[in-house]
Symmetry: C2
């Protein structure tokens, strides 16, 4: 079973490939525009693994929540690769990457990723017997609302040290950066548990409106058929 997978939901662009017995991956952190580097990384990975796109059995994709532009670049690229061979795509929540890389055994935690100012994307997890349990769906909340939802026996996991002081009452920690193995593992888990979607149904978790939508509404009011 051969697959190629990526997550482009943050400034850490991560791409992996797996075949019967080989694994390879590329990490690009703060490299700049994802779009300028993603296809180059994919081409290099196919070369390392000695595979052609036509030899892939499926693709994988983190569908956010996270950076809207990053997600668009990643998802568009996956669609472009999938289309000629009608490949299906194993999707997963991008916050799961941070949970799987960071949670300690038997720990209960909320992964929170900064959205537009004062807002967070978040999801609650538990790690039980090495298995990641998703306790809630991904959500998008203002800081105060999220802080009120947190339990005292859980840890909030954040991406940047500068955000730790926004949750002074809560046990908090910086996320371990997800590894290429974390990416491959989540993609395989999604594939095995029915996360495979037709490429025409591949859509991101857009939990917040884009700035363009907000500006439109400011100018013209809410659309009647949203």
């Amino acid at each position: 079973m051969n697959f190629l997978t990526l997550d482009s939901s943050s400034k850490r662009l991560i791409v992996g490939i797996k075949s019967e017995n080989k694994e390879a991956g590329v990490l690009l952190n703060s490299i700049g525009k994802h779009g300028a580097f993603l296809m180059r990384a994919i081409k290099n990975l196919l070369e390392y693994a000695d595979l052609k796109t036509s030899e892939l059995d499926f693709l994988g994709c983190g569908i956010g929540p996270g950076s809207l532009t990053g997600l668009r670049v990643g998802i568009s690229t996956i669609k472009g690769l999938a289309y000629p061979f009608n490949l299906s795509v194993a999707t997963f929540c991008s916050l799961d990457m941070l949970a799987i890389s960071t949670l300690l055994p038997e720990e209960k935690g909320v992964v929170a990723r900064k959205g537009r100012e004062g807002h967070y994307y978040w999801r609650r997890y538990r790690l039980t017997g090495g298995k990641l349990i998703r306790e809630t769906h991904p959500a998008f909340s203002p800081l105060e609302e999220l802080a009120n939802k947190l339990d005292l026996d859980e840890t909030i996991i954040l991406e940047n040290a500068e955000h730790l002081n926004e949750f002074p009452e809560i046990n908090s920690r910086i996320a371990r950066p997800p590894s290429i193995e974390d990416l491959l593992c989540l993609t395989e888990e999604s594939y095995r548990h029915g996360g495979l979607v037709d490429l025409r149904e591949l859509n991101p978790y857009y939990l917040q409106k884009s700035v363009a939508e907000i500006n439109w509404e400011k100018r013209y009011g809410k659309p009647e058929n949203p």
Copy 2:
């Protein structure tokens, strides 16, 4: 400060590059001969980071213990890159990679990597306040000798599930695969703490004799001036 670094001591070949504000890495796991892929990965990383070899300030290198052939390939490549620009090399113990990726906060553990049959490379660590403390030097011991040295309050960390049953009395765990960030972090730590060596002094930890040396000794006896 720009540097390129690698660890080739196991079947997981891992290469990273870091500049002022960019990071990139390539992981090649079980891809096959390290020698056939390493320079290709280095070339791709320099392209991702938009750096030339001449713009690197130093190099990094895991010097084992581990696969003798893997180490020779990695160290030779680093020497080849270092030579034209007389770059120094920040060295680190390859077992540190497994310790930093796997130890839990405040945990005491021995990282053990399989050597020739019945023998292990090993080193004892403690993770205190997020800092990796090396409690011993790297060593090479037969299984029984290592098992006798282990304390009941520590964990033995192994690379493969198949070796867990060799330590039935001891708290044991499979290592988390080291990430590109782990590699960059260990290299920077070595650089900051005086681990930089002249490229002419770059040598691997050869804790076991090569098969060629053993065969020589069987045939001709131990050399008089080893």
